[in-house]
């Protein structure tokens, strides 16, 4: 009996060894292909154009007033036609054929183009106006309502003070929409999506509007055919779309796969045509294949350390500067983010623009000026100024960290080690799944957060106008940001934003760590994947050749 068991075990062992051997052999015989570059468009197009793409969770809803996340928003860009879209980082005409802005920057007059819903009816200015009134109605809309607060009466309607009918949006006729703002907002069109919504659909479907396929109409490049929640959405080309001749895909699916190993298996066997691959071990595997190429995409997110400036141990700027300078940003990227990203010495990521000037190219990163200083010496100076004695070892700081997974713990310990080694202080890590709430409420000393941005740097800069998570109060800063944001003069805006950023970073209200990046791996027959994080084109530009 025992012999049999031993034999069985031995057999299993041999089999598994064989399997490993076979795999190793396969790996060594494969040529170590250099990572392919984005394929050149050779003009060929497949007769049957389709794409299988990935999303990582079920869309919350495809109701353009109530959606919650980036996944929902991307899908809406494929199936609905906003007034304007951002293509390759530039605001372009979409549902609107053209628009004019009054000299004072307050009145936007849009001329709509001839576009149709998927049942053939015209898309009218009233559909856009209805959508905005619905968004302002406190009864059903809330998620991104604050994006529209620059429209006259929008905030008041949202707070229930006036009727949504009174917001500054008027459909003058079927093809003319006029939107009036409270104050000039040069970032208006690059920040908001103005989607149309048909009143008859909402009346027919009520609360269920947008929650299933068939509860809403499409007027974008594609229409939604089926939606199996938590599994798959399938789309086909909307033949009624005004620009249908430039839509090359005849259909596509979004497969909803939350599990990373399942995502990677799907990309590996071709069930997916492209996917985001951030884990280095998977990336290496796909690098070795010669039928895929990689797109490096700089995102709009900045990772940063926030300091609670109300805390006596952190109220001194030199102490905060010391903590900021003690960080080895390249090492943080290597260890905590799989090597993806760029060290950040400023707040505003490299993808942001003011008018048509790239903010980062025009602005030196403020922290670079301080880089020559010795963090340990800065800390001692700061301690003396703040009356904290002269022994860093006597100081214990709490670092609030959100990720309680094994990898997350290692990452937190990296920061701990950097600060303890360079500054000589003691760091205790508070592992706390609700760290963001603690940081928001000011119950923390040092925390780690990330902020996304919009096309113009305003969104990120204005987070700190009233102190933000750092509780850093600076009236000059708030004034610079608010005056800048209201100026229609790109040069003035840029100058104000530059000064504001310099103030925020050199006073070390926050310590930016890195500008985040991701990688997309795609089969070489796929073209047209947007790489600008602000693009709002959906899957309209994609096509395949020689699949």
């Amino acid at each position: 009996m025992k012999k049999t068991v031993t034999l069985l075990l031995a057999l299993a062992l041999i089999l598994s060894l064989c399997a490993c051997g076979a795999q190793n052999a396969a790996q060594t015989t494969q040529p170590a292909a250099a990572v392919n570059t984005v394929p050149e468009d050779n003009g060929t197009r497949d007769a049957e154009q389709f794409i299988n793409a990935l999303i990582t969770s079920d869309p919350s809803t495809l109701d353009c007033a109530r959606f919650l996340g980036i996944i929902d928003r991307n899908i809406l860009h494929s199936i609905t036609e906003p007034l304007t879209r951002i293509e390759n980082g530039i605001v372009t005409e979409a549902g609107a054929e053209s628009w004019t802005v009054s000299d004072d920057g307050l009145i936007y007059t849009f001329t709509l183009r001839e576009n149709r819903w998927d049942d053939g009816e015209s898309v009218t200015a009233a559909d856009y106006a209805f959508a905005l009134r619905r968004e302002a109605d406190p009864a059903n809309a809330w998620s991104f309502a604050s994006d529209f607060f620059s429209i006259v009466n929008f905030e008041a309607a949202y707070n229930g003070e006036v009727s949504p009918e009174e917001i500054g949006v008027v459909a003058e006729n079927d093809s003319t929409l006029v939107i009036t703002l409270n104050a000039p907002n040069p970032a208006f069109l690059s920040t908001v999506d103005i989607f149309p919504c048909r009143e008859s659909d909402v009346t027919a479907c009520g609360d269920g509007y947008g929650s299933e396929a068939g509860t809403f109409s499409s007027c974008g490049p594609f229409k939604l055919d089926t939606w199996v929640h938590n599994s798959e959405l399938s789309f086909s080309r909307n033949e009624q779309y005004w620009d249908v001749k430039n839509v090359q895909l005849s259909r596509f699916t979004y497969q909803i796969i939350p599990d990373e190993s399942a995502q990677m298996a799907s990309l590996e066997n071709g069930s997916l045509d492209y996917a985001t691959v951030n884990a280095p071990e998977y990336a290496a595997k796909f690098d070795a294949r010669d039928d895929l190429y990689v797109l490096n995409i700089t995102t709009d997110r900045t990772a940063m350390i926030v300091f609670n400036c109300e805390d006596p141990m952190l109220s001194n700027a030199k102490i905060r500067q010391a903590f900021s300078l003690a960080l080895d940003r390249a090492l943080i990227i290597e260890i905590t983010n799989g090597g993806l990203g760029t060290p950040a010495f400023g707040l505003v990521p490299t993808v942001c623009y003011v008018g048509d000037v790239n903010f980062r190219e025009a602005t030196a990163e403020p922290l670079l000026e301080l880089r020559d200083q010795d963090p340990a010496a800065l800390l001692l100076e700061g301690m003396a100024e703040a009356g904290l004695g002269s022994d860093p070892a006597a100081l214990t700081y709490t670092f609030t960290w959100r990720d309680t997974s094994a990898a997350g713990r290692t990452n937190a310990e990296l920061y701990q080690q950097m600060w303890e080694d360079t500054l000589g202080v003691k760091i205790e890590i508070d592992f706390n799944e609700s760290a963001l709430a603690s940081i928001r409420d000011g119950n923390y000393q040092i925390g780690s957060v990330g902020w996304g941005s919009t096309y113009e740097p305003l969104f990120q800069l204005s987070r700190w106008s009233t102190g933000g998570q750092s509780r850093w109060v600076n009236a000059d800063y708030a004034l610079l940001v608010s005056e800048g944001s209201a100026s229609m003069d790109d040069a003035v805006r840029l100058a104000n934003y530059q000064q504001a950023e310099a103030m925020l970073i050199s006073d070390a209200a926050i310590a930016p760590t890195y500008y985040n990046a991701t990688q997309t791996y795609a089969y070489s027959y796929v073209s047209g994947i947007p790489v600008n994080p602000f693009d709002t084109t959906g899957l309209k530009p994609l096509f395949t050749s020689d699949r």
């Binding site: 049999t4 399942a262 069930s271």
Partner: protein, 325 residues
């Protein structure tokens, strides 16, 4: 005739009383479970909107909390929820605006039940078979093999089995589709992953149950009467050994409606398991509570059904039931 009916009624009356009492207890259990879930859920720091939306301006968060009444004291929210529940309304998802909890249950528990049901049936049948085999060949190699497999089946986590199977049978040997829910072929891998657990459990359970029965006096009696081994096994050992498994099967059946978070996530099945687990991290209060009410209901009902079944199968329990009543 009338006396006969009367007598029948008399003899079943205690059982009806017993069942009625059990139903009242069930209502109590459901209320307690709902209350505990409610307060536990509200004790977790964070709120639905923060869990769902990145980069949220604080004013939007406040407006949201007010619009759903989440700024009210927890006690008041509890009363509001109970009121809503008694009016037969399970509420609406916060994470998925426009989806009613009742619809989520109606649309997605069938998928979980289908996959889980097939897996359970396969697992139970194979498991019982393996258990019987192991018991009959005790301490010989079939027993050892079954016990080794059962040990592996209970110790290897499902996500490992699922990921390895998925990689082996969709990438290395592309036999099955990787993810999705478009027909029978899509169910094979999830069913295999999900039947491993019940298979292992039932094999071990059935084996020990059989071994208990083997040593009973009535088996000795049957042997003494000179019955064939086959007849002893089928008529005396199996019937008695299966009894304890009935309770387990009923409870397992209740479990299939809740689905498997892991298997549904890895194979992108539109089942209830993912809603249930992700709703907790999303702080989707009404979905967690609503699903909990429904699943608790199914669970307590299945326990009642198993008790009634046992009562019918085993007269001794009925007597106890009468005494209790």
């Amino acid at each position: 005739m009338q006396t006969h009916l009367h007598r029948l009624f008399e003899s079943w009356m205690p059982m009806f009383k017993y069942i009625l009492k059990r139903i009242l207890y069930m209502a109590l259990v459901m209320w307690i479970v709902t209350s505990i879930t409610f307060f536990l859920l509200h004790a977790i720091p964070g709120d639905p909107i923060t869990a769902m939306v990145q980069d949220l301006p604080e004013e939007t968060r406040q407006a949201y909390l007010v619009s759903y009444g989440f700024d009210q004291p927890v006690g008041k929210q509890y009363l509001m929820y109970l009121k809503q529940l008694f009016s037969g309304n399970l509420g609406q998802s916060l994470r998925y605006p426009g989806r009613k909890v009742a619809d989520i249950v109606a649309n997605y528990s069938p998928v979980s039940a289908l996959v889980g049901g097939i897996a359970l049936a396969v697992g139970v049948l194979l498991g019982l078979g393996c258990g019987v085999l192991a018991a009959l060949k005790r301490d010989r190699w079939p027993d050892r093999a079954v016990m080794l497999l059962a040990l592996l089946g209970t110790t290897i986590p499902t996500f490992v089995i699922a990921s390895v199977l998925q990689y082996a049978l969709t990438v290395t040997w592309p036999v099955f589709p990787t993810t999705g829910y478009n027909g029978a072929r899509y169910l094979v891998l999830p069913v295999i992953c999900m039947c491993v657990g019940p298979l292992a459990t039932y094999a071990r359970y059935m084996r020990s149950s059989m071994l208990d029965v083997v040593n009973q006096d009535y088996i000795l009696t049957a042997e003494a009467k000179g019955l064939s081994e086959r007849r002893i096994i089928t008529h005396h050992m199996l019937r008695n050994a299966l009894l304890p498994c009935v309770t387990m099967i009923c409870v397992s059946v209740a479990g299939i409606f809740s689905g498997s978070f892991i298997v549904e996530s890895i194979f992108s099945l539109p089942g209830l398991g993912r809603y249930f687990i992700s709703a907790i991290s999303d702080r989707d209060y009404f979905v967690v509570l609503g699903l909990n009410v429904v699943l608790t209901g199914i669970y307590v009902c299945s326990i009642l059904v198993s008790d009634i079944l046992l009562m019918l199968l085993d007269p001794r329990i009925r007597t106890v039931g009468e005494e209790a009543a």
